[in-house]
Symmetry: C2
Subunit: 184 residues, 2 copies
């Protein structure tokens, strides 16, 4: 990176708040003297995890889950917030047990992903899960999630699916594909 | 997809609002009868674009841009909102001219990506740009963006960069890599 000097925060205040979201108004002065007002989402919590679970070398597991933002069922990987006191690995294994009814003996950390750094500081740790064993934990989902098996080799088919659209799911799938290709 | 019945929206109201963001509170009844309160971000605008620009077969172009959410400079691809009346292709070409000083004679549409469907309906159209020509348009950035050349073959190096973290950037990079690998 070049040596850009981060803008000075002239003021910072909460300008809107709901149960889940806190929006901050930020007055900034850039290093060239230009001042601008930005808005961003205040970061709560301890980050999140997403897990790409392999039932075996040939089979990926996906879930179908209702997404309120798009008001439809979306296809994606198990994910969730890290609870206080949990490591990302513990959260990944808990979410797997809650959402697909498996734990994983082997978790491999891939890259951590941001959602949209312009507005959010949130950070999501991505894992590959292998060596699964059956174990179900009660989650807080309002309904049971549908687990979908997908041929691990059919990455193109999954990319073409118009219910598989979350940028972090697409990134996770392709990082996992790359991870296994590099091992071969 | 299986035939999950989308929950019934019992009520929908704005519960917080700022200049940029509108947060909605949604009361839902799932098909199993369970009722839950959700929050989501109201969708404004006409979607967004992100462009993976190839200066030539060997060189990708990236920008360094201040991100208020993380309060640091991030490395990523040119992106921006689609203006009213613009096609995604027109928006992609305009953003390229504003952010890196090039137009593109060739734009290839990849998949459209969601940010986080649980909370947002926003949709981002991803393009590969090739056959670039110099043309600069004045953007609304508070400071000139730093353009960074990156060896197109060094995908692993870019993935390892801890300033290249936006899930949609990672997805776009790997979809572009896949696109060219399939053509070979």
């Amino acid at each position: 990176m070049s040596e850009n000097k981060v803008p000075t925060i002239l003021s910072l205040e909460t300008c809107a708040q709901s149960r889940l979201f806190t929006i901050e108004r930020v007055q900034l002065r850039f290093s060239n003297g230009i001042e601008r007002e930005y808005e961003r989402m205040k970061n709560h919590g301890h980050g999140a995890v997403m897990v790409v679970p392999y039932l075996n070398d040939e089979t990926l597991l996906l879930i179908e889950e209702y997404a309120c933002g798009t008001h439809r069922y979306e296809l994606g990987f198990p994910k969730g917030l890290i609870d206080k006191g949990e490591t990302p690995e513990q959260a990944a294994n808990r979410e797997l047990k809650e959402e697909i009814g498996y734990g994983a003996k082997k978790l491999t950390a891939l890259k951590s992903l941001a959602m949209a750094p312009t507005y959010f500081a949130s950070n999501m740790h991505i894992f590959i899960a292998q060596d699964l064993y059956q174990e179900r934990l009660e989650g807080d989902e309002p309904e049971e999630l549908t687990v979908v098996e997908w041929a691990a080799s059919d990455v193109s088919g999954l990319l073409a699916n118009n219910r598989f659209t979350d940028g972090r799911c697409v990134a996770s799938l392709l990082m996992a594909e790359r991870f296994f290709a590099e091992k071969e």
